[in-house]
Amino acid sequence: MAESGIGASVRRKEDNRFLTGKGRYTDDINRHGQAYAYFLLSPHARAKINGIDTSAAKQAPGVVGVFTAADLAADGVGGPICGWVVTQKNGEPHKSPAVSALASDRINFAGEQVAVVVAETLTQAKDAAELIEVDYDVQQAVTKMKDSLSSSAPQLHDDVPGNLCFDWEIGDKAATDAAFANAHHVTKIDILNNRLIPNAMETRAAIGDYDSGTETMTLYTTSQNPHVARLVLAAFMGLGPENKLRVVAPDVGGGFGSKIYVYRDEIVTLWAAKKLDRPVKWVADRSAAFLTDAHGRDHDTHAELAVDKDGTFLGLRVSTLANVGAHNQIFSTATPSYLYGCLLAGQYKTPAVYGEVKTVFTNTAPVDAYRGAGRPEATFVVERLVDKTARELGMDATDLRRKNFIPKDQFPYQSPCLVQYDSGDFNLLLDRAKEVIDYDGFAARRQESAARGKLRGLGLSCWIEACGLAPSAVVGALGGGVGQWESANIKFNPTGSVTVFTGSHSHGQGHETVYAQIVSDQLGVPFDSVEVVHGDTAVVPFGMGTYGSRSGPVGGGAIYKAAQKIIEKGRKVAAHLLEASAEDLEYADGTYTVAGTDRTKTLAEVAFAAYVPHNYPLDEVEPGLDETAFFDPANFTFPSGAYFAEVEVDPDTGHVTIMNMIGIDDVGTVMNPMIVHGQLHGGFAQGIGQALYEQCVYDENGQLITGSLMDYCMPRADNFPMFTTEETNQPCPHNPLGVKGCGEAGAIGSPVAMLNAVVDAIGTDIDMPATPEKVWRALQSRAQAAE
């Protein structure tokens, strides 16, 4: 392994600029003469708008424009869209209400954008926004899913009867019912998967810029997928044509899914720049981020597992309500359907699985894909249920799982939930996890804790997920609006350095480093000679962006393919320069050698000849060394893992102390272990955040109670111990690098391991987050029940 090649923990190229304050995030960009936008957000969760009077605001000092939905409608500007059609049980498509870019006549969540003020300074814009008079007819909000589905519930959208977005199913109901009819034992569980707020540290931001000379618009924005943003803005929001629209996503300060979507404020900022013919900057403050960013999770599930006498799983039945909030967004239908239901079989050979999901509109912010997107929810259902089953059967939690694992020799394995798992070795993962946590030593550790008056618990999760979004044909068949290949362009410069253009876009994952490793590895050029360019539609031809742990398996696959095309073109040029036949050339580490001789040409020499063709076969090969490739995988990738959490609960306070958290992951080939482990650590923190700390709360009037970092418990450094992460690498068989993806894994497997540990400690079921109050109450209830 070369020091900078695939598999090396190369230190990151991007770090120097981030560490010296030279990162360039959207708010760091200023355009000459820019004005500032501030959005007036609805203070009510449900209201009819009788009228909006902006006259006073328009007269306020420094104001250059005040706009409402009527202004946008006059220019034909559209609002957020849904990107995935889910076919319901009855064969009809899901309901997707039309949404405008500013609220027109109705408010459906607190924080919904009502008007925008553009002024010379931000403070002037804020001051003027206070002068806007909105005549609201405030109505009772509905925030809970079951309430929203009741016949007496208010209707959020005229075209969505009963507030039901879709009623969808997966699996074989008849076979599952039959399995339950013959079961020795059925374990049942009710689960709430708590609603989360992503909270990337950089809030969303946008700068609209219009060049009236060329009639070209530029949007600088905090996007995980700038090309998709451009496509959507041009095709659906009336802000094209695409050849006159450039989207630039500079350095992006975290996303976790929340920056996939094209939001209302971004649409309006771009439009306002054109309207006013001057640059307009908008940056969300944290309060606005809490109110308007897409939230995550929010499921209410009943699940049952049917087992035979010896613990063999016979059937799994799952019924879920999923909150989509006020309206749909790009992945808000895909996340609680295919990205959830397809993983309900977990790591187990359960022969019959049936899941049904109803998604519900409520007067809350939209809910969409958040790190893991459906797969943490599925894993939580399966692994809570399996754990409870072990308890009810009196079996060891690891033995019960092992008994039901899909054996290593049965891959590819057709799951009863549509997908075909490609590879895995679940026993290997569990064996190693038991060693690392010292499973056999737990009883003694529990005793030792008990001697100190503490309750110790050990929790396990054996999980599998589907990522590397996505095989276009599969996604298309399931209703996805776009295929999800990725592109790469590798360009040798005449003097031998290399520029790589990728449609993936890093928001912290280190693409500039990892992609350079792939190119350095394949083309034999020094790591430092490779520059990775991303995030600008004017420079990168096209791309699908970064989400669903796709940048390694799909984006990396495209770069690998482009590198092979470079090698093949270079071979023809080298053959000419060496006066040999191309078939006689051997290629290794950036050098072509005439077989059996010491006559060689490096790729750098070939590149020079290709651009400066003094001696070049112009009649046979075009000049230049510049190749583009697209990679569209045949299947999803299927990372899997075995995670243990060990906790100690103080029964007097309900406080949970994490004693240990370990994860053994199969993420396929690892390109940069340092970065992979960093991704896993971050996933652990977000997953444990969900299990122990984080909870988005709306009150009965739809007011966001947890609307700041003082109210929403973001994990801090002192909440965690040092994690242990290891990998067992079963290469993915259907992408050229063998990569499976690691961005979401930690957040998928860790919440349920942590909650199982708390349940093991306190001896009773509990919902996430297991806050001290909730744990203490659970212990009190248990004590009272025992009396």
Partner: protein
């Protein structure tokens, strides 16, 4: 508008500000020192940490006028002649950053810790960072980086 003068990264600066102008706004907008970030509006996240007269402060909760006459240092002043400060170098070596947005505040906060405690334990580092939120790293490699830097700086 009142005028404010201070020394930023060793350089004397003067600017016109409103009474309500925050130090972070003065740094970012007047001086174009955009390495100091704003991540929240409740003084929780610590992305805006700078040093004022040698102590770490949250520049989102400090008025520019409060820094009148002060010595201010920001992330842009940490490296010398292109060489990373040992804390910056340790963050790179130990992968203590991912998206980089919280990083300037983390580095500045860590620098104050290591002024006060040359050999902090893991627990001391974690507790010190209570006012700095990172959403990417799980903090593990930040803690490792700060401890490694402390050893490097002790010599």
């Amino acid at each position: 508008m009142p005028s404010v003068s201070m020394t930023v990264n060793g350089k004397a600066v003067t600017g016109e500000v409103e009474g309500r102008t925050l130090l972070v706004e003065f740094l970012r907008q007047n001086l174009n020192l955009t390495g100091t970030h704003v991540g929240c509006d409740t003084s929780q996240c610590g992305a805006c940490v700078v040093h004022v007269n040698g102590k770490s402060v949250k520049s989102c909760t400090t008025l520019a006028l409060q820094a009148e006459g002060a010595e201010v240092s920001t992330i842009e002043g940490m490296a010398t002649n292109g060489d990373l400060h040992p804390i910056q170098a340790a963050f790179k070596e130990h992968h203590g950053l991912q998206c980089g947005f919280c990083t300037p505040g983390m580095v500045m906060s860590a620098a104050d810790l290591l002024q006060q405690n040359q050999d902090p334990s893991e627990t001391e580092v974690r507790e010190w960072l209570e006012g700095n939120i990172c959403r990417c790293t799980g903090y593990q490699n930040i803690v490792k980086a700060i401890q490694a830097a402390s050893q490097e700086m002790k010599g």
